[in-house]
Subunit: 354 residues, 2 copies
């Protein structure tokens, strides 16, 4: 168990973890902390075990997923593990021809352009992803008291890859399809919502203690477009997990103009990037929503004094939120020094101890 | 003169242009419209004249700059011309080793890392850029009643290229230097402010009727960081042009969290991207500031009905602003159909005629 390997990591035997307590707006012994992309290229041990294995093959190999998910828990003593996967994993599982090209991102062989293209997007079942069940089951056993966060992509971000055919700076094909062919758009997103919902249900069924829905690119939309074209589908996923009892985290970047809408989709916790101070965000979100964030990942490249000042500021700004999970405002950048990450975890724990 | 070539373009002989009137919050006969990157790759006539000439060489060739700047005025009958240039042109003029790599963007041979690197950033004088004076002078003659907007990059966006060494998604080196070495950062931005101010003064001196300061990447910052590390330098530029009498447009993307600060830097007009509706923006900005925007450039790829609906909505939302210049929320994307742009100009003019 990781717990044994990392005795100082902060969860207390028999007591609800600080991470889950913060998600539920309950008192914590100190502010919990984890990092988006904590499992990944910033870690030399990750680069070593991933060498020679394509990303999507790695995601379908339980022993590799378990090892990679555990690495940052062992090294940094974070308060939660995030399931190592990719948002396109469930798409590949239903037969979408997708690969992740190093240095590029997901590339889709046959982008979605018309209604008949939806035929390739059948429903996902647990039988399609036995490796996910196996990896989560193994992880929960290894993690002991450390909660595992399940992982899925939200419909807008998934749709953008499927419509553009790969990563996109401006999402022009996606936005054009969304606005010009709303029936096709909603049909596409409804299928994606079903797939992501089932992908999360599999993870929760196998023991994940919380889930995070990643809508990384939703901030590219106006609030009006988000509400009309995206929110109903993300709501289907988050509300669909309502009776599971696990906390639901809803994350996007550059979403300061629609934080409340991210909550209203059915979130218990809303991810806030560095553009919005946590006290400002929490006032908008109200007393029923916890916040997660919001250190700028670029600032992990600044001096130790700057990092320390930022951590202190963010803890101060998050103090009056109904719950605060310390995190970055976006994922760990690949060139980040892992020792800086460990130091941030220690700082968060030291400075927030009640 | 372009006026002769495009009799329907909207300015009236002997009367202040609608564009300048809107900048000054004076009545207009109809809403003026121009587009960021209207001169550029979306136009076949641009691709033809640019073929075989490197971008920065083109920017230093007056007859080419004149032709390229005029092309969209001729074709689309927009209400203003934007001087065809690049934000790194004045950097190259003071000796910075920079080139624009097609498909990449500006690449800096020796990025700024320490105080001694600032030695390469000497002050700009009009003698460094005779080709700019020549191009502006020629353009003003050709444009007749159509105003020419001068062009410069703001210190943060320029500094990001200089510190990163090229385009950057996360600006991590820039943000780290800004926060870790504030004295060096401010010295760098002060020099950049002087260079951009002089670059704009040269254009105004040669006859440009307005200026736009491009801070495309400032939206990557929190408001607190913007105010401390960037605003003083952009203010130096915009306020430095205060006695020139020309309207000053201040533009950024994803700056909804600091629109008022963009105005306070000394702008007459603030550029607003599609994430913030113009009525919301104008309420924040108050009665002394005109707005420019804010059609999502991605929506030029949508159906004609969608484009028409968007134009109408934006005109409605801009109606009560003290001044509204129709534009995109960011630049024209290279694959945009130029006929769609022409149609938007016509729609704006038809729908807003008083």
């Amino acid at each position: 168990m990781v717990h044994g390997a990392a005795p100082g990591h902060g969860s207390i035997q028999g007591v609800t973890s600080d991470f889950l307590a913060a998600c539920r707006r309950e008192p914590t012994s100190r502010t919990p902390v984890w990092f988006m992309r904590q499992a990944g290229r910033s870690l030399p041990e990750y680069r070593k075990v991933r060498a020679g294995t394509a990303m999507l093959d790695a995601c379908a190999t339980p022993e590799l997923v378990i090892e990679v998910t555990l690495q940052p828990v062992r090294r940094h003593h974070v308060d939660a593990a995030i399931f190592f996967s990719d948002i396109v994993v469930p798409l590949r599982a239903v037969g979408v021809d997708v690969e992740i090209k190093p240095g590029v991102g997901p590339v889709i062989a046959k982008p979605i352009r018309q209604a008949s293209d939806l035929d390739g997007l059948r429903a996902l079942t647990a039988e399609d992803v036995p490796y996910i069940t196996e990896a989560v089951t193994g992880l929960v056993r290894e993690l002991g008291d450390v909660p595992l966060i399940g992982f899925a992509g939200a419909p807008f971000t998934l749709a953008s890859y499927l419509v553009e055919g790969g990563p996109s700076k401006h999402h022009e094909k996606t936005k054009a399809l969304m606005r010009s062919e709303p029936a096709l758009w909603h049909a596409l997103c409804d299928r994606l919502a079903d797939i992501s919902l089932e992908f999360l249900r599999v993870q929760v069924g196998a023991g994940a203690s919380a889930v995070q829905l990643f809508d990384s690119w939703a901030g590219a939309l106006s609030r009006a477009d988000y509400l009309e074209f995206v929110a109903p589908h993300s709501t289907k996923i988050l509300r669909g997990l309502g009776d599971s009892g696990v906390p639901r985290i809803h994350f996007g970047v550059g979403t300061g103009h629609m934080l409340k809408d991210f909550a209203d989709a059915g979130a218990d916790v809303v991810g806030v990037d560095w553009r919005t101070p946590l006290d400002v965000a929490s006032r908008q979100l109200g007393p029923q929503i916890a916040v997660q964030g919001n250190l700028d990942p670029a600032l992990l490249f600044a001096s130790p004094e700057v990092v320390e000042r930022e951590v202190t500021r963010i803890l101060d700004e998050g103090r009056d939120a109904p719950g605060h999970i310390f995190n970055l405002g976006h994922g760990v950048l690949p060139d980040t020094d892992p020792d800086v990450i460990t130091r941030v975890v220690d700082l968060v724990h030291e400075r927030s101890a009640r």
